[in-house]
Symmetry: C2
Subunit: 336 residues, 2 copies
């Protein structure tokens, strides 16, 4: 399997990307990681390493799009690393891609070159949120600020396809993020989405609330990208804020300082079960090719796990399953 | 000052309400707490206490509305404790009210009897979220699932009025919850709200994101009640989920178990700075009378603090300030 990695994207690129690629390549000798970016920069990075595994290759892309640029940059710089990654997948030279740069441009580059799976109306960013029992998968967390009910229904169908194909889950529970469990609560969007979802063969529980995102009782939650992105950023901010307060309290006495040292293994265990870097990234579901959107702050560990997630989607034949699911829908629509 | 307390509302009513009222009355001998509810039940509760301060009185309301009932219950049972609380404020027999029961019915009872301050288009629930430096005040967290830009602008104006009148804050920073700091990011609602806010005399920072809710850098954040309620419930769920995982990790070895005992004072300090029960409740801003909506799970401590918050709004002359602010707006509108 060949995985294209945008080596220029992310706050710590290309260093973190090169490190993550090497770690992945060493652990998975049958796969190849293609570092996509400025060849000179990448060679310089690799030359500082003890070993460069032979299954790490370079694909030269002379241009770079920065973290804060607008999506028009994609048209202005067709030879940048994001465009190039997507072209590699499109041309069959890579089986999947991982992009940790500018999210807006990454999402657009994927859609521009790979298009959507026939029948899919919108691509969505799927984010796994940690809970005490595993993860709650939320879609969309930012690709579409405004959505229609049929988009949310497709997000649910695609997420279930991913969990069943690549994570061995059977009939995961699906909920619609709203503000009350009663069927009539919420907005037009959530009420109509619930109605449409009940007509599918998915395991639909109906409306769920914010606290259900972290209970472990629901597997898949759909919402528009505006709400999903706010949920995601609120969660990150809350953990940061809570840790700041907790650290201040721990540092306020000798007893709690000592306890803080002693408790370290538990904090490490907590981090192992919850930190985004160990999830690796968020699949952009609906585009016609495996695309993983990584966090802009990705370090080598996050890159490693994002590559792993990409490989999982390829092995599980996620895209083939999507094509089959929506081909059936298109056929049904055509015969009606 | 006289504070009406819905003694029948909340998961632990009337016990928790009676206890909170006694604690408040003992600490504030010049104020009176009026327990509103079934006289027999309340007398039975009070008789089990060592002391009943003379500044705790009972107002009989023979009917009760349960936590899961619909707002039609308010019309069907006009002699329930929520209707009665609002009537006491309307008639000037109480200066403020605290309601910890069914949120939908509480909000409706307040609006039904007290109406809105002239010029105010929607009442919103204002929730203080803890951050390392104090609180971020978010409105609306659930009274209105769908809002227009002018509603969000008024939520900002009313929240600033509350912070300035009752919390001694000067020119607090106001943001609009969105999904990107750039002015053009977000939905029609957030973009138009930002434009309108910039025409006011408020200290407007523009769009803010989910993580800003817990950074301590923004004082006031406005959003529609759908998004606000999801933010609130997500935050509660995240803290619960995180604590579950952390406890499991702490209990997984002897060393961390001991550390868990030693670290207790820091956890207590953390709770003191963050727990909702010490905030006490959420002002329902925009109705023409001080109304505090308490958490359904309120215990005696939460009730005590909710009563305190009500008294703070009365002392700060919050309602008078609202009336003045919106009277000016009405006058301006009339002359245009």
């Amino acid at each position: 399997m060949k995985l294209a990695l945008d080596a220029m994207g992310g706050d710590d690129a290309p260093q973190a990307m090169v490190h993550g690629a090497i770690d992945y390549a060493l652990a998975h000798p049958l796969d190849t990681v293609i570092l996509v970016g400025r060849e000179g920069d990448l060679r310089a990075c690799l030359s500082r390493e003890k070993t460069t595994p032979s299954n790490v290759t370079i694909e030269h892309a002379p241009e770079v799009i920065g973290m804060a640029e607008k999506i028009t940059a994609l048209r202005e710089r067709p030879n940048d690393s994001m465009n190039r990654c997507a072209q590699l997948v499109k041309q069959g030279k890579a089986d999947a891609m991982v992009l940790c740069g500018n999210t807006g441009c990454s999402v657009s580059a994927a859609q521009l070159h790979l298009r959507r799976v026939p029948g899919v109306k919108r691509a969505g960013i799927l984010t796994p949120l940690p809970n005490p029992k595993g993860h709650t998968w939320v879609c969309d967390t930012g690709a579409n600020a405004v959505c229609r009910p049929e988009h949310l229904v497709q997000f649910a169908e695609m997420t279930v396809a991913l969990l069943e194909s690549s994570y061995g889950r059977v009939s995961p529970k699906v909920g619609v993020l709203s503000i009350g469990e009663e069927q009539e609560k919420g907005t037009e969007l959530t009420i109509e989405t619930c109605e449409l979802l009940r007509k599918t063969n998915l395991n639909v529980v109906g409306n769920v609330e914010g606290h259900d995102l972290y209970s472990g009782d629901i597997d898949v939650v759909v919402c528009d990208g505006f709400v999903g992105n706010i949920v995601l950023k609120t969660s990150e901010g809350l953990i940061d804020g809570a840790m700041t307060i907790l650290k201040e309290e721990i540092m306020s006495s000798l007893r709690t300082k000592i306890a803080g040292k002693l408790i370290y293994p538990a904090l490490k265990g907590f981090k192992r079960r919850t930190h985004w870097s160990l999830v690796g990234g968020c699949p952009l579901i609906g585009v016609d090719g495996v695309t993983i959107i990584g966090h802009g702050r990705s370090n080598r560990v996050a890159v490693f796990h994002a590559l792993k997630q990409a490989s999982r989607c390829v092995t599980g034949k996620f895209i083939e399953r999507l094509r089959a699911r929506f081909r059936n829908e298109l056929d049904t629509a055509a015969t009606v």
